[in-house]
């Protein structure tokens, strides 16, 4: 083993897929994510986004933080920890969920995988081991950070099933959204496949032991050659996730444990996760605070999708009511190539998420050859997701 004292010589870890990603990352567009070095793009963001929406894409999700949660009390523990009901979750099921602190402020969101009666895995953006361990007091459950023990590759796009079929996993035709299965992929061996993703498209996430990662990559690339498969970076994925209307921790909301300013933490209702909250399942972290906030109507914010006039991305803009009154800010924005609309996610002060009508204006500073053009563009609150194709849910998936 290398000398741990030399950790600073390589401040960012390398994903198990790194040798392949490094070879393909022709512009050396790297960015840190959760302590790993990850690719921003592979040379052409437009083509990469196009692969997500038109053919097939692979995106390395190994840096996702993963916790193994196991034990006789795992269900009870997770029901106390998270917002949604876990007791009714089927074995082989996957749940998008979130968890809160005592004040009902969201600590993070993530996906919960159920392997059997007593074994789960929680994947998320930030590290939470102390919180998870302290939450385990009084429960017969063990919690382990398995981030480095599991490599993950997200295969997304209309031809993703065709790729998997070519790779030897035709039986995945029956796999429904938010379910997972174990398959054997030729030279790779056993792979856990979940029908999940961050794109609102047909797609899968493939989980393997790190030492099988390169075999998986190579096998998918070979199997997908005729199905337009290509690696994509975070920039292309971000466009797709905004089109999908998905939120990202510490981008669209500040994780409560990261928030320095007391007014930055958000309750689930304030970031569009109100549908998750199951107040009837028994005690869970934040229940009393969420209940009180709803009862006393102290919720301040709402997270909405905006459709903005024009084609200039509104990233970071302030949202106004009429011309003057500030009522919120854009947290993510893009001109959507798929929907051909100028879309954004925004935090708006209540009740303007509902009552603003056509009065919302977005202040955009468009930089045109070293000069800013200030624009006040009308915007409308619209339903998320902005893009939600039927192929996302079709079972069996279509062969494109």
């Amino acid at each position: 083993m290398t000398d741990q004292r030399h950790h600073f010589r390589q401040p960012l870890q390398r994903s198990p897929f790194h040798p392949r990603i490094e070879a393909a990352n022709v512009l050396n567009a790297w960015a840190p994510w959760a302590g790993y070095t990850t690719a921003l793009n592979f040379g052409d963001v437009a083509m990469e986004h196009s692969a997500i929406r038109s053919t097939a894409s692979v995106y390395d999700v190994s840096p996702m933080i993963k916790y193994a949660i196991e034990g006789p009390d795992a269900v009870a523990y997770l029901d106390r920890l998270t917002l949604r009901r876990v007791a009714g979750m089927p074995v082989g099921g996957v749940q998008y969920t979130a968890w809160c602190n005592d004040a009902g402020h969201v600590l993070d969101d993530g996906t919960l995988f159920r392997f059997d009666e007593t074994r789960f895995r929680l994947c998320c953006q930030e590290r939470h081991l102390p919180w998870l361990l302290d939450s385990a007091i009084g429960f017969d459950v063990t919690i382990r950070d398995v981030t480095e023990e599991v490599a993950g590759l997200s295969l997304q796009g209309p031809t993703s099933f065709a790729v998997l079929k070519a790779a030897g996993a035709a039986e995945l035709a029956d796999l429904k959204p938010f379910r997972m299965a174990e398959v054997r992929l030729g030279p790779v061996g056993p792979v856990t496949v979940s029908r999940t993703g961050f794109t609102a498209d047909l797609g899968y996430e493939l989980w393997v032991a790190p030492e099988r990662a390169l075999d998986l990559w190579d096998h998918l690339m070979i199997s997908g050659r005729l199905h337009g498969i290509r690696p994509v970076g975070t920039e292309a994925l971000n466009i797709a996730r905004i089109e999908a209307g998905f939120i990202t921790a510490n981008a669209d909301f500040v994780c409560a444990e990261h928030a320095l300013r007391p007014d930055r933490a958000r309750q689930p209702d304030e970031i569009g996760l109100d549908w998750m909250v199951d107040l009837d399942k028994g005690p869970f972290n934040g229940r009393a605070a969420i209940r009180a906030a709803r009862r006393d109507r102290t919720l301040k914010w709402a997270l909405v999708g905006l459709d903005i006039e024009g084609n200039i991305s509104a990233e970071g803009s302030i949202v106004y009511l009429g011309g003057r009154k500030e009522v919120g800010q854009i947290t993510a924005a893009v001109w959507s190539p798929t929907t051909k609309r100028n879309i954004a996610l925004a935090q708006l002060l209540r009740p303007w998420h509902r009552d603003a009508g056509d009065k919302l204006r977005v202040e955009i500073y468009a930089l045109r050859e070293l000069q800013y053009h200030k624009l006040m563009l009308p915007a409308r609150v619209v339903k998320r997701p902005f893009f939600n194709p039927p192929r996302r849910r079709a079972t069996p998936p279509a062969m494109f």
Binding site: A103, I137, N285
Partner: protein, 516 residues
Amino acid sequence: MPTPSFDTIIIGAGLNGLACAGRLAQGGAKVLVLEAADQPGGGALTAEFAPGYRVDRLAHLVTHLDGRMLSALKPEAHGLNWAVKSMPTTVLSAEGRHLTLTGAYGASAPGLDPREARRWADLRARLLRHAEVLRPLREITPPLPGKGGAKGNVVALGKAGLALRRLGREEMQEFLRMILINVHDVTEESLTDDRLRGLLAFDATLGAFLGPRSPNSLFLLWHRLSGDAGHIRWPSGGMGALAAAVTRAVEATGAEIRCKARVERLLTDGDRITGVRLEGGEEITVSRVISTINPRTTLLDLLGAREIDTGLVRRVSNIRMRGTTAKLHLALREAPEFLGADLRHRLVIAPSSEAVELAFNAVKYGEFSAEPVMEIMSPSAHEAGFAPEGHHVLSIVAQYVPFVRRGGWDAGARDGLKAAIMARLEAHAPGIGALVTASELLATPDIADRHGLVGGSWHQGDLAVEQMLFMRPAIGIARYATPVPGLWLAGAGSHPGGGISGAAGWNAANEILGAA
């Protein structure tokens, strides 16, 4: 299943449980107090430790008894008599140069040389003035910083503010200068007599995980003085008689007290309190439960961590409970001779502030002090009934003794601790060892095991500035209410802390009556 003829259950019939019961019953509640032991009293307990020899088993002096409780419940009308209303303190010297303080915390100290006596008079007056500022705070629900106070508390807060203003500009500055410093520095800058400095150091750190040089240790002396202004009382018949009188007074209000009824589980409907289950399985339905036992035991063991949010579990788990106090009870065939000291006084062996600090050093490293400091009280010197005619008993509070000892608490360790205490006694009362006919040692973990005092902490959580007021027992549950509707805390673990007092129970009852 007994019919639910009660609307309130109080867990624990210590002074806080009794005070809370009496106040609530007077306020119209139908109260049932459940006590695990075979008699009420909690830390106020007189028991036989050898045939014919009785002592106060835990607390053996009264410095803090809540005045509101005394005037409202009138235990004096139910048999409470004070054998001593202001017990003098004698700091023992191995050379027989004892120093005796009489009156309210040494109003008179004839053994001091005249210049030191003046310096002591100045410091004493200052300490009492400062303690007076804190006194109104004892009687209120801790205010939340930034949220204003509850209606009733504005008055008490105002009183504290007024007391602070009344100190005058210079004295207020002095108060603020001294508020967080240590008792050693204060006595060093004000006094020269080691006996006096040793006493102040001892009193400030008694029952705490602090040495006289630890930051904030002066605050605990203020805390002590804010009770009965420095008077030390002892009830006729011992602490058990005090408990019995208060019990009768509480029963006269209509509250019922059931002993040998250990609560094993708090019951909820997943939302609010619905009752309690006793050891043995009996369940009692009730919508309001007030626990005066340890807050951690209450929330994590009786209720269960699952019922409360993780942040609170974390804070409750982190309440520091580090008892440092052991008790030694001695049966003596005749009166011990402390080189001329009066056995009816509170006798203190703490030769200097440095000696107290050195004694504290050991406990930091998981050992008991080789030369412990101690407080000695002899009930038999005051009254018959504690020892056979001509015989005597001593009740000794000794520290510092760790709860978790490096190497564990085996019989050898207990023998070593007893030998260390006896060696100090022998040095101050030569020949005392030969008079001992029986003894009982309660090391810190024994006190924890036998009386449910987690970590051996007499106060259900260290008394320390960072665990006081709105931080006692923990942020979020300092106003006696818990996040579980119907469950309240009212023990020594809550503001204003322990000691034979009842203040926390009384405050909680006020809060409950106000909230109802």
